[in-house]
Amino acid sequence: MRHPAEGVLRRVVDEPAGVSDPDHQHVAACARCQRVLGEVRADAGAAAGVLAVAAPAGHGVAGARTDAAWHRLRSAAADGAADGAPRPGAATGSSRAQRSRGWLRRPGVVALGVAVVVAGASTAAASDWLRIFQAESVQPVSFTSTDLVDLPDPSAFGEAVSGEEVRVRTVDSAEAAEAATGIAVPRVAELPRGVTGEPTYQVGEQGSSSFTFSAARAAASAEAAGEDLPPVPAGLDGTTVRLTAGPGVLATWSSSTGLPALAVARGVAPTADSSGAPFGEVRDYLLSLPGLPADVAAQLATFTGDGSTGSTLPLPVPADRATTGTADVDGVPATTVTARDGSTSAVVWTQDGELTAVAGTLSTDELLAVARGLR
């Protein structure tokens, strides 16, 4: 009879019930197998020794430790992990993300934002601050939640800096909102069934953030990850992309449950300016960096923009959570987004440099009716 494989002998060591009787009988009678079994057993014992984990101090109150850990998890989940996020290696002081504010607290979103802007950029000669991107239409880019999780921290290849913190405040009326933002507040002609009352108005100021590419930092991150950094195009090192959006206004109608039933938002559409570097090259380079999910990069690479006349704003949509479609709002192409569980929907479009979104716990048809009736 052939000798059982070492994998079988390994199982003899610690799960003998899973080994067949013929194998047991062979091993018991075979001197060679006994010798190998001795080596296998010794290696397994040595591994168990070096991998042993001492019980933590206070292990007698393991339940209390689990309780504490559970509350920490709940807290982290409840605030979007802004402060309670676990940070393996936190002891090294690596907490760049914490220094950011507002939406910059989501590094992955920043990475996507940078890629989005660069992907949407037109090819242009380098100069001082140069308008490279102005959203004139919206198109969804599909990615999965896993893709978002996988997005690299932008601090791995540059420095993201938020501008002045955007203040959002409630104002008393549409007139006050218009006075504060200079934006004509969209009025809903006819509220959908089930939505009643007056909306609350909030206004946000213009916000901006910038990202400066660092070839040295990108190289260090790539090396740490054991990956090769593609050759950095000339002029890219130190190039800064500045994103600007807003101001904007948001009108919200609450439902009887207290959740927003309908929200209408309008703001100055995002624009981007750049210092240095030809942007077709920058786009292709950033999209080639390790870490950006290939599917997302491929979609973004198709966004070429159209020179000074503006570009398409990629709208990131998690494909595993929402579906997208297209619609027409008074002759302007719009994107519809519907949560897969049917709970919420949104309609988004850009016109004359303004981005408008209508969203709520309503059907897409109801929201389109609202969108088409805006005055």
Binding site: V40, T66, D79, P86, G89, L151
Partner: protein, 211 residues
């Protein structure tokens, strides 16, 4: 090529996503997608958490080591993994294996980062030992620290699947559970664990002989 080789080519599903290079320390992975509800958590989360939290911390601790710092890191890894699980659609009956694989990958990634720092500490520790003329307890500390580091280095150098199978088995998962978590046959689990233990022995032996 044996069964273990043939079955080790495919990724074991979602946990590998947590193990992607260069993302170990990014906090973005634990966030809900933009606009996603922060409290959009699976309903069985608390039950799974209370059942498996200690196990998952133990898995991460086996990778990261026995020091107090490492223990804290292991608990951080467990938090990260459960947050990812909370927003996942991993079937309940596969939760334990998924969590353990994810914890191993995440901890191995953290280990890779830590090894760079350890190289600097290593130099400092060696200097200290020389300065103090290798007094007994200091020398013991150096040897113990060196051995611990050797284990971590060896783990980090193992093929991912071998390291994961090794850690899962030594964390108490049965052959069937390891097989299910890594999409291996139970026989291949024995082969994979055996190779890992053999490689670990060689790594430690080489390290010892080079001192």
């Amino acid at each position: 090529m044996d069964a273990a080789d043939r079955t080790s080519t495919g990724p074991p599903g979602p946990p590998l996503a947590l193990a992607a290079p260069a993302r170990t320390l990014g906090t973005g992975r634990t966030r809900a997608p933009a606009g996603g509800g922060a409290l959009d958590l699976r309903p069985d989360l608390e039950a799974v958490f209370r059942r498996d939290h200690a196990l998952v911390v133990g898995v991460a601790a086996r990778v990261l080591g026995a020091s107090a710092d490492a223990r804290g890191q292991a608990e951080d890894v467990a938090q990260e993994v459960f947050l990812a699980f909370a927003r996942s659609r991993v079937p309940a009956d596969r939760a334990r294996g998924w969590l353990c694989v994810a914890a191993t990958h995440t901890a191995l990634n953290a280990l890779r980062t830590r090894r760079r720092r350890a190289a600097r500490e290593d130099a400092a520790l060696s200097g200290r030992a020389a300065d103090e003329a290798v007094a007994g307890d200091v020398a013991d500390d150096v040897v113990a620290a060196e051995e611990r580091r050797g284990v971590r280095d060896a783990l980090a150098r193992l093929p991912r699947r071998q390291a994961t199978a090794l850690v899962l088995r030594h964390s108490g998962l049965s052959y069937a559970e390891v097989a299910s978590a890594l999409h291996l046959s139970p026989t291949s689990v024995g082969t994979t664990v055996r190779r890992a233990e053999s490689a670990l022995r060689e790594e430690l032996r080489n390290r010892a002989s080079s001192r």
